[in-house]
Subunit: 318 residues, 2 copies
Amino acid sequence: MDIVEQIVSGDIRATARLLRDIDDEIPSARDILRELYPHTGKAFVIGFTGSPGVGKSALVDQLAICYRKAGKTVGILAVDPTSPFTGGAILGDRIRMQRHFDDPGVFIRSLATRGHFGGLTRSTSDMVNVLDAAGKQVIIIETVGVGQDEVEIANSAHTTVLVTVPGMGDDIQAIKAGIMEIGDIFVVNKADREGSRNTVRELRNLIGLGARKRNGDDWEPLIVETEATKAKGIEKLYEAIEKHRAYFLTTNTEKWRQILQKRAKIQFVGTLKDQALRVLLERIEAHGDSFDEMIQKIVDKESDPYTIAQQIIDRELG
Amino acid sequence: MDIVEQIVSGDIRATARLLRDIDDEIPSARDILRELYPHTGKAFVIGFTGSPGVGKSALVDQLAICYRKAGKTVGILAVDPTSPFTGGAILGDRIRMQRHFDDPGVFIRSLATRGHFGGLTRSTSDMVNVLDAAGKQVIIIETVGVGQDEVEIANSAHTTVLVTVPGMGDDIQAIKAGIMEIGDIFVVNKADREGSRNTVRELRNLIGLGARKRNGDDWEPLIVETEATKAKGIEKLYEAIEKHRAYFLTTNTEKWRQILQKRAKIQFVGTLKDQALRVLLERIEAHGDSFDEMIQKIVDKESDPYTIAQQIIDRELG
């Protein structure tokens, strides 16, 4: 069996290897992604987003257990932009895997993003395709949800869950308003804390203000209170998500297709851009120029970034 | 006077117009950036980063007042990825401008990022150049500091200030460890809250663990407690920042240069990538293909994103 067949048959080791290759930007990964592509499009994708410290991981792990009880296989992608600095992601994966250690039906992977020039949105999207092709029926993406990439990632999920906690500080009102429109379901986690009812009320008011209308659907966002560490409220969260899934599988059937279009765009434009950059940087060297010397010229004000970039574009694409 | 001369002479209206054009990705902005480039490289750039709700804006506004008292002009760029959804950024600018309304020496601008395919890091970097050329002596960039872009932006400042508050939840330990290495100064804001001393102690321990060493300098990060809304501790923060500036202007003289190199790389590679993509998308249409039809083919599984992207690269750059 080649690696494509292995992944499609659900082989965990082959799947993990490909995800690592995507993260490391190994070129051969693209060929495998290409062959896997016909096997994608079946998974239900849930985006979980919220500030650090709101308890997203605990919540997602509990939800995974719910889906396993319902007989579904689960893939979890945790997008953790802080991980390049410490390797914390890998450690985190190990700790979290222990919660599901006797269950091969749950696959967890953190994206140890390298802090390079962009690409986070695309690699996440590629990794969703891999887990999808590997037969995971439910794929959960966790993001911190405040960066541009993270919002875009959340936005390309079928159902987006926004997680907050009571008393997140005075800026929270603005933040809530800002990300309101991408939330299908709102979770107030650590609901045993003071102020939980207030937070729920605030959310309800914001939803009432119709901040959401711009998305063009008539889904009324649901609010769920949870205590993830005590597994409280998880069933309700599960039901809310399933209700949203049913909503666009029956009422708003266009949405599933729109999500596939969004993913296709991210993957196509991202690949185009990265490949073009790779070729152009190779051409710089092939032309006898050195990248470092170019940067030095810019720093020394002998030229500027915009002129040099335009010269290369004109020469190679003119 | 043309717009370049206007900006270099410190004209606020011309500066604001160019920043808006950069945000709107208007092609002519690049020509102006090119002409402004020789006038850049003088400003001292400070990055402020921290989760939503920690009080970054209040802190930055207070610090701006300090720098004004010291006779310096100040530019503030607030990177707010949530703003595309509500237009909240513009409102926020107006409220904040009122705090400095009688002072033309302070310029505030929020980046209403459009959520397009990347580009946040580059536009921020371009905007720093504009404020620099416009004669702002101190430029403060505010970011939420958890997204990939935000970390990169903070990383390209001369001095990076990480802001936290007491009791930010149980995940904070991991987060701190993750972003530890980019912090030159740590601020515990809302220091009147319970647990402030604990947070300071935790930070001191983390610094002691030498998590920072990978950056390759021997600066020992400073910790400052503040209450921004009462203007408490701001002088100490100001002194800490000035101490760090003195450090690399005298002890670690390479750093100023490294920061310029980083900015040059972001601007050069970013421009190259964006321009290449623009030309390639134009070529798709020129070749008689439609972008939307291509995406449709991918969704319908008649092809895949990787194959189509490669075909275009081969045709145009082969």
